[in-house]
């Protein structure tokens, strides 16, 4: 389990933010999200299923995403998540907040 570098270890809500971002480019199923995060982070972020699925459920509860069954590129049944307008708004808001936080952390770290 030490292999999975789950972003939620960093800041609460970060994983949701990353998922929202990866859904921005179009509906994806769970495995595609994991792969998207791994590839775009250049193999740094490995999201485990035990973190991913609760996070996806949180998006559903909050109405930021909708899920529907579809067929994957390899012809398998898979569940696709699609951003809702509320999800887009959330992404914008969270992103601004995240950047504010990162800057704040950086200021703290760079202070002499």
């Amino acid at each position: 389990m030490g292999l999975t570098n789950t972003p939620s270890d960093l800041l609460p809500g970060t994983l949701e933010l990353l998922i929202l971002k990866s859904l921005r480019s179009g509906p994806k199923h769970g495995y595609a999200i994991v792969e998207h995060l791994r590839v775009t982070s250049q193999d740094v972020l490995h999201v485990g299923e035990s973190a991913l699925y609760p996070a996806l459920q949180r998006l559903l509860v909050n109405g930021w995403a909708k899920a529907e069954w579809g067929v994957s590129e390899t012809n398998r049944r898979a569940r696709y998540y699609r951003l809702t307008p509320a999800g887009r708004k959330q992404l914008a808001g969270e992103r601004a907040e995240f950047e504010r936080m990162v800057q704040a952390i950086q200021r703290v770290l760079e202070a002499s």
């Binding site: 389990m1 999975t4 199923h29 769970g30 495995y31 595609a32 994991v34 792969e35 485990g48 299923e49 035990s50 973190a51 991913l52 699925y53 609760p54 459920q57 949180r58 559903l60 509860v61 909050n62 109405g63 994957s72 390899t74 398998r76 049944r77 898979a78 569940r79």
Partner: protein, 883 residues
């Protein structure tokens, strides 16, 4: 908003949702496997690698569930898990639930009664607006009555208040009232102010309520019938309104019938007559006119948006005005929300004290039950340490384990609470059936009017007790279990892990507490039983067995001359009855509910040092009828009774009075004064318990005269005497109904109270004993199973069964003995309280104390022996094979 809706829809389709999640995660794995396969792994390798990578699927499920349901999800899971475990061990569950149900049930039952007696609102619409008003008056001479108000005071409050929209007054009619008719009967009624039904907002069911004009001087006598009397004596006939009925031979017009459930004080009322009708019902009833007679109980209704404090402030101003008119007087008002039963201020501390003792005794049962169940859980917790160890080493947090165990405790406690509520209804009915006849003897024309049925307050009490009990017995084992070591399960030796030192100590403490509580209850019960026995064996100082009591109270409407004539004729006729030895008259019967307080002074002493005692007015035969010896001087003569001469009135004093007033001197011929009379002692009577069974009054005097009670000494059985007397009364005056009771009935009242308390305490004591015995048995038998291997080794090494038994008992009985000693000390403290309340209970009664203590210890030892026996039958070879 949308979020809650989504959560709600989740709840309804939870299983489908979870199936989807499972499918989704499996699809996820399949995608990864396919991916890996594309990267060159064989399908089998890809399968395995993907399975490894996916990690803890169960945890993902659980977390996902928690996202939707919050912590409720895990609670629900815990509950389902708990139910499953309990279903697997039905015996454990049954014992725990029944034990708790007993504890919770009896507590809810007794609280139902207390709630009815102490807390329930007066039964009337908008009862929260009703206030009861009582007063304590000081500095006024010759004031009669207490807590209540005189007619003029009532008028002052009624007419001056602005914070109350109305003030009603009520008082019982003096004595019993004879309702005339074809078969006259005695009823119990009240005099009320004419706004009674309006202030209560309880209009009569039939006819009209009393109107202001009905209370005017010279108004035609009217009456409103009580609902119950209307049903029993008038067959619920609606044309009774407008009819004329006879009450104590006076004619009253029935103007209405009270609605069912109309407030009527503590006892059911046959009629409500106007406040000034008292003198019609009883000749010489001067309470209405007499400003020094406090007799009216007041209830007011607050106006809208007026607080109790404002009412208090305003009425205190009125009280101060009354005080100003009577120099030296000071009034203290007591204004409270009106209750179904008003406990007078003087009795309040006694009532709450009794209630506290009662609740305490019942609370003990609950504590013992909780200790029992906690012990059960502890024992089970240790045998579950295997499972808990696995959970802990798999990464469950301790908080999570504690919550799991607490949830299980709560489940048991809720089940116990539910079953307990059923028991509560039974125990409540049992208590009422036990208590009511003891408080209101069935021979009298009275029945209690209070409503004891459960209400919302009882329900919340039961719920609070249920959860309190759950926390109480759940917390100890929960913390103990969670502190168990994660490695415990690896040892495959849960028995050894179970008998860890801490666990043993905890269980021993719990048993000690149980035995202590049980000891207190059992000794209290034993002492009470001795007290009850004493009420049957006590020497009252006089003979009560073959004496009948006739009360002339319902003839109080007669003029003094007519009453005197009636009494004289009655005495003459009864004395002529075969089997009758003698007839005496007095103003009260021994141990009856009347009393005549008197303040006596030695010559030269002033009012302030007056001694307060009891004066009984008696005819000369009183002493011979009761077999009460005159030890010095002489008895009264007929001349003493008749004499209206000025100068000293002859009196007889009790031996105690003589001792207290003239220690060592000769009392005969001494003078005393009481108010404006001079009294001269002509005789000394032996001490007798005529006022209360528990003590001899220190100042008891007998005054010559006659009263409304006849005492008949006879050799017939009571039924013959009673029917003979009734026939005589009928022949003298067919409209007269007199109550005839055996004198022993008065003793029965005292025995009734004693008996009620004793059966209550014995019931509780036995319950406690059963629970504690089960507790001791459980602990010893658990210790024995836990140590079977050690015992086997000992036996194999040559210890005799007797040695082993002695060792086990020595160790397990230590907490029992410690608890027992603490219990005995507690019992002595409790019995001190009991002895001040109940007759015949002595705090240092060796038989009661020793008997109770021996019973508890003996049973605990027996339980220990029975539980320990199987150990000695262990086969050493079997055990050794394990080692």
């Amino acid at each position: 908003m949308g979020r809650w809706l989504r959560r709600l829809t989740y709840l309804f389709r939870q299983s489908r949702h979870e199936a989807e999640l499972r499918e989704e995660i499996e699809a996820h794995r399949a995608l990864r496997a396919a991916h890996l396969e594309r990267e060159g792994l064989t399908s089998r390798e890809a399968d395995e690698a993907s399975r490894r990578a996916i990690g803890n699927v169960l945890l993902a499920h659980e977390d996902a569930r928690e996202v939707w349901l919050g912590s409720w999800a895990t609670w629900w899971q815990d509950i389902r898990y708990g139910v499953r475990t309990f279903r697997r061990s039905p015996m454990f569950t049954a014992v725990a639930v029944v034990t708790l149900a007993l504890g919770i049930g009896v507590n809810a039952g007794v609280f139902t009664v207390l709630n009815g007696v102490l807390f329930r609102d007066l039964p009337a619409p908008a009862a929260n607006e009703l206030v009861s008003i009582s007063q304590t008056v000081q500095g006024v001479k010759d004031l009669m009555g207490q807590d209540t108000f005189s007619t003029s005071e009532y008028r002052a409050y009624r007419d001056s208040t602005n914070t109350l929209s109305g003030v009603l007054a009520i008082s019982n009619a003096s004595g019993e009232t004879t309702l005339g008719g074809d078969s006259p009967q005695n009823v119990y009624g009240a005099l009320v102010s004419c706004n009674y039904f309006d202030v209560l907002r309880q209009p009569p069911a039939l006819g009209r309520s009393l109107a202001a004009r009905d209370c005017d001087a010279g108004a035609d006598p009217v009456v409103v019938l009580g609902h119950d009397l209307w049903k029993t004596a008038f067959a619920a006939n609606s044309d009774v309104v407008g009819r004329t009925i006879q009450l104590n031979r006076r004619f009253f017009t029935v103007v209405g019938v009270a609605a069912e459930g109309t407030y009527q004080g503590a006892l059911k009322l046959g009629y409500f007559a106007p406040i000034n009708a008292g003198r019609l019902l009883a000749a010489g009833d001067s309470r209405y006119e007499n400003d020094k007679f406090l007799w009216l109980f007041l209830i007011g209704r607050q106006r809208d948006r007026v607080g109790l404090d404002q009412v208090r402030a305003e009425l205190e101003v009125i009280a101060a005005q009354i005080d100003r008119q009577q120099p030296g007087r000071s009034t203290t008002l007591e204004i409270e929300r009106a209750k179904q039963l008003t406990v007078p201020p003087g009795l309040r501390s006694a009532a709450t004290g009794t209630a506290a003792v009662l609740m305490g005794a019942f609370g003990f049962i609950l504590l013992i039950a909780c200790a029992n169940v906690a012990n059960l859980f502890l024992a089970r917790g240790t045998s579950r340490s295997h499972e808990i160890g696995i959970r802990l080493s798999l990464g469950a947090s301790r908080a999570r384990v504690v919550r799991q165990v607490m949830t299980e405790s709560m489940l048991i406690s809720v089940a116990g609470g539910l079953l307990g509520s059923v028991l509560a209804v039974w125990s409540f009915q049992w208590l009422v059936a036990l208590a009511v006849p003891a408080l209101v003897p069935p021979e009298l024309p009275m029945s209690p009017a209070w409503d004891l049925s459960p209400n919302a307050r009882v329900l919340s009490f039961a719920v609070a007790v249920t959860f309190g009990a759950g926390i109480l017995f759940g917390l100890v084992p929960a913390l103990h279990v969670s502190s168990s070591h994660p490695y415990a399960f690896t040892k495959h030796d849960s028995a050894a892990a179970g008998s860890s030192r801490r666990g043993v100590r905890l269980r021993a403490t719990l048993v000690g507490v149980q035995v202590a509580l049980c000891m207190v209850l059992m000794i209290a019960a034993a002492l009470l039983l001795r007290g009850l026995y004493a009420t049957y064996t006590i020497d009252l100082g006089y003979e009560y067995r073959d004496v009948a009591v006739v009360s002339l109270e319902s003839a109080v409407d007669l003029s003094a001359e007519d009453f005197e004539a009636l009494r004289r004729r009655l005495i003459a006729r009864i004395e002529a009855m075969p089997g009758v030895d003698a007839v005496a008259s007095a103003d009260q019967d021994p141990l009856g509910d009347d009393f005549a307080p008197v303040a006596i002074r030695l010559p030269g002493e002033d009012e302030r040092t007056a001694r307060h005692g009891e004066a009984i007015t008696v005819t000369p035969r009183y002493f011979s009828v009761l077999g009460l010896p005159i030890v010095r001087g002489r008895a009264f003569t007929d001349a003493d009774v008749r004499s209206t001469q000025t100068g000293a009135r002859p009196i007889i004093v009790s031996e105690a009075t003589a001792r207290n007033l003239w220690p060592g001197g000769d009392p005969i011929g001494r003078l005393l004064s009481s108010q404006n009379d001079t009294l001269q002692v002509v005789g000394v009577a032996a001490d007798a318990r005529v006022n209360a069974i528990g003590y001899v009054d220190p100042y008891q005097i007998y005054v010559p005269g006659a009263g409304s009670v006849l005492l008949i000494k006879n050799r017939n059985d009571f039924a013959t005497t009673a029917s003979g007397i009734r026939a005589i009364v009928r022949s003298l005056d067919p409209s007269l109904v007199l109550t005839v009771l055996p004198l022993s009935a008065n003793l029965g009242w005292w025995r009734g109270i004693s008996g009620t308390v004793t059966s209550l305490a014995s019931g509780l004591g036995v319950l406690a004993l059963v629970l504690a015995t089960v507790g001791v048995y459980g602990v010893v038998s658990y210790a024995v199973t836990g140590r079977s291997r050690e015992i086997g080794v000992r036996l194999a090494l040559g210890a005799t069964a007797r040695n082993v038994l002695a060792m086990i008992l020595r160790q397990t009985m230590r907490p029992v003995v410690v608890g027992a000693s603490i219990g005995v000390a507690g019992a002595i403290a409790v019995s001190q309280v009991l002895s001040s309340v109940l007759f015949g209970v002595s705090p240092v009664d060796p038989i009661g104390l020793g008997g109770g203590a021996l019973l508890v210890l003996g049973l605990a030892l027996a339980a220990g022996l029975v539980a320990a026996r199987p150990a000695t039958r262990a086969d050493p070879t079997t055990t050794l094979r394990y080692e």
